[in-house]
């Protein structure tokens, strides 16, 4: 007999569902649903009490509507009511509705919790199960709070039914997952472990899941589970398939439980106890042996169940990584699966082998399957499987097979699915770099990569190839030749143009001796791509051109012609236009010495983690990229790492923070590395004199340092994870300086102009926004003269009206703190300038500006300060203040300094306000009212009614009034909630008596502030100042 009779459905529900299914359009469906929702709503709201059957019917309809993707915003209350029904059917449908529709932060949780509590204590196992299911499915914090104590008790109680125990175990697991803090370990933990011995395999399965999760968090508390799990596993594995009756699934004994137990054991290292360890090894061997037995059934379920256990056993073997024989057996087993006709098994075998490849015992064994894996890459129909094959090839790669694997991956890339191309590109790039024996192979590989899958080559990949070429002078000539040849292709990817532009700009001279790649040919080749490229690439090419002018004076005229053309000088893109203008100007007026200095070859990059590896890690999530380095130290002789440091000049590691100092200090020895000036092996004709002349120009003293700075300041090239310290510099300046530049140069003699260029160039580097081409020393920003920066005046914060100390201003570089004292009409302000960077501020100067009429009302005298502020240091400045007469405006403090060569301008209003010159006056009620009456002329009183901006706390208000400077007079106002104050403003010329009254209205959240003084301007000013404080 079927367990669910088909006849007991609900007629109304059936009709509704078939209505929906007969709807011809989405609109008709929505219309029908809305009609039904209206109907149910009216039924729920109606006066007539619904019977349980109707409620159930309507709730079922709502569930169906919800499944179709429509929001249900009512019915929750009815569902909660169903929970307290005594009828199973109604209760059950109520719980169903709640676990499907109620999310964890619903307001109803408290009501639901009540019903659950009743059911949990009902001792009716069916009801208890419903309640436990509900807790596990909703799993909210409130539920955890309510039941974290009950559930463990039910779980370990002796008289709990098995089915309830099962539910309780998983319920506890869920609560532990969602709110671990609310489920403390207790005396129940030890008893939970013993559930592994339970008669009922369902209970054991649930308990194993629970223990596995708990053991991951508190391995020590559950150590005893290891021996129990091994014992249990052993009994299952060795049992005849009929012993476990119902838990035998297609002739496999309790496959689920076996899998769970093997998972649990993966939380721990191999057992120390030799007996347990032996028993476990025996189990694993038995499982491996069974894999070789002929199947007991041809059904796929049989092999699935059997292999589920087998794969889990292999995972455990790999996890323990201690028994070489088992590891090799596991590897052989997986090798068999690699060619199995079941796709699922091939997939899983590839996946497991990935982890196996990182074990030193089995790495070699895994490598023997390389041909099968490569074959899988070529022939598998399923992209999921091919992806696993790529992963495995990546994991098994080492120096011995790198060339083969990289070649295979490259050829696969041509036909690979779009979804996985980028990942393959990253993997190829990493392997090519890591296992490069000679760098010509590396350069070839990356250029191939760009050719085959240019669109998927991310910035990091081509940044990296440039880093490596720059850092290794043995490959530079080859790289130049290769990119030159690659660029010959009629259509080449933009990424190739970028690499080509960069490399030829730096090393074009190395191949210029060959007439087939003479400077002009190189330039024409690059320029033929120019118009097909995007703006950033064009910008990079322009920088390459100016580098050409330095490398090859003979093409200067041609390049200047190009720069001078309208399409450059008047380009709509401001970046391109600016570069064209500046480069053209630079090429016209700078001497060859200066050009050679400014456009010197890039220095080596400091070694960091490969940016591509970082990207792959980020893409795949931490931990999922098998770190070949970590696991197989013996193989990681990174060609790149070791040799580079020898070519790196000592000052290559100059940190960006200290470069200003370097610039000013006597220059270190120039980094004039020996350059392969001669035509390398592949050029037959003798070198033309010009390039060598260009190279022979001695470096100006500061050039070496400058380039180090440029290198260090390019965050993009140097590993992506670490933001450069300079990223905290002010945002890149708007490129407005084009005209300025021309002025600078035209006003000076060539020599001076060049000097200016040389001095200005380094300044700009930190602000250069386009890191991809910072190999050109001059970026548009470089020629900014700092005067063009006009910082906005920072508004003073109101916070200083009622207090005298605090932080006045702060940005990434500078913090300004204040401390003030006032006595009568005099004041003294201590200003603290804190340098937040590690770099010295230079040319530090401050000035205070008081514009009319303030200048005659307030005297402000700042004392002089040191012109430098060391990194991390604080500088104190004293400002003396005298109030001549009452005033409204604020004095402005201007601060100027050079940071990183850029002139910084900051202006802040000084919080010197009229109330600072208050002297509090104590007086009694009678005096107060007498004076109050005296100041009754209309212009003497200023009143303001305003809304409270902060909470209306009496103590805070009192503190503010006292901070404002007046005396707070208690017991003066008949209404105790009002505040009354009195004081005298002292100025050099006069004194102004002042009374104030503040009436809060907490209901309306309003204040009324009244001020009476003998001067109308003072009343107004004080009222304005104080009104903003509440």
């Amino acid at each position: 007999m079927p367990a669910v009779s088909k006849g007991d459905g609900m007629r109304g529900l059936a009709v509704f569902i078939s209505d929906i299914r007969n709807c011809k359009s989405k609109e008709a469906e929505i219309k029908r649903i809305n009609k039904e929702l209206a109907n149910i709503r009216s039924k729920f709201k109606g006066d007539k009490a619904l019977d349980g059957y109707s409620k159930k019917k309507y709730v079922c309809k709502l569930l169906f509507i919800f499944l179709l993707g429509h929001d249900i915003d009512f019915g929750h209350m009815e569902a909660v009511n169903l929970l307290s029904s005594n009828k199973y059917t109604e209760k059950q449908i109520g719980y169903l509705f709640i676990s499907v529709l109620v999310n964890s932060n619903s307001d109803l949780i408290r009501l639901i919790n009540n019903a659950i509590k009743n059911d949990l204590s009902s001792r009716n196992p069916t009801f208890m199960n419903l309640a436990l299911h509900c807790i596990a499915n909703v799993g909210s914090r409130e539920m955890a709070e309510a039941f974290a104590a009950d559930v463990p008790r039910i779980l370990v109680a002796g008289d709990t039914m098995d089915s309830v125990k099962q539910s309780a175990a998983l319920c506890l697991l869920r609560l532990n997952r969602t709110s671990p803090d609310l489920v403390p370990m207790g005396e129940w933990t030890a008893r939970v472990v013993h559930l592994l011995n339970d008669q009922h395999l369902g209970v054991v399965t649930a308990a194993t899941s629970l223990i596995t999760t708990l053991a991951q968090k508190n391995p020590d508390d559950f150590k005893t589970s290891v021996s129990l799990a091994v014992a249990r596993l052993s009994r299952i594995v060795t049992s005849a398939s009929t012993d476990l009756q119902d838990y035998t699934y297609y002739f496999v004994a309790a496959p689920w439980l076996s899998v769970k137990l093997l998972r649990l054991l993966q939380c721990y290292p191999p057992p120390e106890d030799a007996a347990i360890r032996g028993r476990l090894t025996e189990c694993l061997e038995t499982i491996l042996n069974k894999a070789q037995e002929p199947p007991k059934s041809k059904k796929v379920q049989h092999s699935n169940a059997k292999n589920a256990v087998l794969f889990e056993a292999i995972s455990l073997i790999i996890h323990h990584d201690s028994e070489p024989t088992l590891l090799v057996r596991a590897c052989n087993q997986l090798g068999q699966f690699l060619q199995h006709r079941e796709t699922n098994l091939r997939y899983l075998a590839l996946e497991s082998m990935c982890t196996l490849a990182s074990s030193e015992f089995s790495h070699e064994a895994v490598k023997t399957h390389i041909d099968t894996v490569i074959n899988a890459l070529k022939t598998e129909r399923d992209v999921s499987v091919r992806q696993r094959a790529v992963d495995l090839l990546y994991a098994m790669c080492d120096r011995s097979n790198a060339k083969q694997i990289v070649a295979e991956m490259l050829s696969y890339l041509e036909t690979a699915d779009y979804s996985i191309r980028e990942e393959i590109v990253l993997k190829v790039a990493i392997l090519a770099e890591k296992y490069a024996v000679d760098y010509t192979w590396y350069v070839d590989t990356i250029l191939n990569l760009i050719r085959i899958a240019g669109d998927y080559v991310s910035e990091e990949v081509w940044y990296r190839v440039i880093q490596i070429v720059i850092n290794r002078d043995d490959v530079q000539g080859y790289a130049a030749k290769t990119v030159f040849e690659a660029l010959q292709a009629p259509a080449c990817h933009e990424n190739l143009v970028k690499v080509g532009g960069y490399i030829l700009g730096e090393f074009g001279n190395l191949i210029a001796g060959d007439p087939r790649s003479s400077p002009l040919v190189q330039f024409n080749l690059l320029h033929s791509k120019f118009h097909l490229c995007s703006v950033p690439t064009r910008a990079l090419l322009l920088s390459a051109y100016i580098k050409f002018i330095n490398l090859f004076p003979e093409v200067k005229g041609t390049i200047q012609e190009v720069l001078r053309s309208d399409s450059q000088l008047r380009n709509a893109d401001v970046e391109l236009q600016q570069r064209a203008v500046e480069y053209l100007r630079l090429s016209c007026i700078a001497s060859t010495d200066i050009l050679a200095t400014v456009l010197e070859e890039m220095p080596p990059f400091p070694e960091r983690e490969s940016s591509i590896l970082a990207k792959l890690k980020r893409k795949k999530g931490p931990g999922t990229v098998p770190d070949i380095e970590e696991n197989r130290k013996e193989r990681n002789a990174n060609v790149n790492g070791g040799t580079n440091h020898t070519t790196t000049t000592p000052n290559a590691k100059t940190s960006p923070a200290s470069f200003v100092g370097d610039l000013l200090a006597p220059a270190p020895p120039p980094t004039n590395r020996p350059r392969p000036v001669s035509s390398s092996s592949f050029l037959q004709t003798p070198l033309t004199p010009l390039p060598s002349q260009a190279c022979a120009i001695p470096l100006a003293a500061s050039a070496g340092t400058f380039y180090q700075v440029a290198a260090a300041a390019s965050p993009d090239l140097l590993g992506l994870g670490s933001p450069s310290p300079l990223s905290s510099t002010p945002p890149a300046l708007p490129p407005t300086a084009a005209s300025l530049l021309i002025d600078v140069f035209s006003e000076n003699s060539p020599g001076a102009a060049a000097a200016a260029a040389a001095a200005a160039a380094p300044i700009a580097v930190p602000a250069a926004p386009v890191a991809d081409d910072n190999f050109s020393s001059i970026t548009p920003e470089s020629l900014h003269v700092a005067d063009s920066i006009l910082a906005d005046v920072q508004e003073p914060t109101d916070k200083f009206v009622c207090k005298n100390n605090g932080v006045l201003y702060e940005n990434q570089l500078l913090q300004i703190g204040l401390k003030c004292e006032y006595r009568q009409s005099l004041g003294r302000m201590y200003v603290f300038f804190g340098n937040k960077t590690s770099t010295q501020f230079l040319s530090f100067a401050t000035s205070v500006v008081c514009q009319e009429p303030l200048a005659s009302q307030l005297n402000v005298h700042p004392k002089p300060v040191d012109p430098t502020v060391d990194g991390g240091a604080q500088l104190q400045q004293i400002i003396n203040i005298e109030c001549v007469s009452d005033f409204v405006e604020a004095a402005v403090l201007n601060i100027q300094f050079r940071y990183g060569g850029i002139l910084q301008n900051i202006a802040v209003k000084l919080p010197i306000t009229l109330n600072k010159f208050f002297q509090p006056t104590e007086m009694i009620s009678q005096d107060f009212f007498q004076r109050w009456k005296q100041l009754s002329a209309p212009q003497q009183e200023v009143q303001n009614i305003f809304k409270a901006k902060h909470s209306m706390d009496t103590e805070v208000t009192k503190a503010k009034i006292i901070g404002f400077g007046v005396a707070l007079l208690d017991g003066v106002d008949p209404n105790p909630s009002n505040f009354v104050g009195a004081g005298v403003i002292h100025t050099k010329t006069t004194q102004v008596g002042c009374l104030l009254r503040l009436e809060p209205n907490t209901q309306a959240q309003m204040y009324r502030l009244t001020l009476r003084t003998s001067r109308d301007t003072v009343s107004q000013r004080l009222c304005d100042l104080l009104s903003d404080q509440f």
Binding site: P2, D8, R11, I17, T89, V100, A206, D246, W256, N344
Partner: protein, 193 residues
């Protein structure tokens, strides 16, 4: 842990969705659509595992699915579950449904959403496997049905309505489709809306 269990038909119409992690209703519907899109474009006879869609957690999660006649059964699981084990679980689920409904078909899932949820609830709880023994599951479901019967007095008439609905729009006789050793009779229905 099982993150979600989805059943939808060949046209992407959801027939059951059960999420064990909280998502907004909108996201749930999007996940169903995304999952359908991922699964339905795959050929028959490729492997039953693939990386999850972006919405449900990308490559940290796997989709393990089976296609039975008109229905896809998809389990979205994290790395702590055995792939083949979940595949078995889907089989147990379908076999159980088949026993409970006597040759289960898509219509049974539509008209008995509550029952299907109940059966699933006996197998999976809060994203963890509760019971894998089919007899145990059926015993539980049976005892619930008995309770239901004893409580219900009014359940006679709708039976006719249901059978009427089931028999309409049926141009052909149902055909048998073999899945393992059970055969689910699946009516060749016109496309569902």
């Amino acid at each position: 842990m099982i993150k979600a269990i989805l059943i939808f038909n060949n046209h992407g119409k959801p027939r059951l969705s059960k999420f064990y992690e909280h998502y907004s209703e909108d996201t749930e519907q999007q996940i169903i659509r995304e999952t359908f899109h991922l699964v339905s474009k795959r050929d028959e006879n490729v492997c039953n595992f693939l990386e999850g869609g972006i919405l449900i957690g990308g490559s940290d999660n796997k989709l393990i699915y089976r296609h039975y006649a008109t229905l896809y059964f998809v389990f979205c699981v994290d790395s702590s579950e055995s792939e083949l084990g979940i595949l078995d679980l889907i089989q147990v689920f379908v076999e159980t449904l088949d026993k409970c409904f006597e040759n289960v078909c898509e219509l049974d899932l539509i008209f008995h959403v509550d029952k299907v949820h109940n059966i699933l609830g006996e197998m999976v709880m809060g994203g963890m496997v509760l019971e894998t023994n089919m007899n145990e599951i059926i015993t539980q479901v049976d005892s619930q049905n008995k309770m239901e019967k004893s409580e219900a007095g009014i359940a006679g008439a709708p039976a006719r309505a249901v059978s009427a609905v089931k028999n309409m729009n049926l141009p052909e006789m149902p055909k048998n489709i073999n899945i393992g050793d059970i055969s689910i009779k699946v009516p060749n229905m016109p496309s569902f809306k």
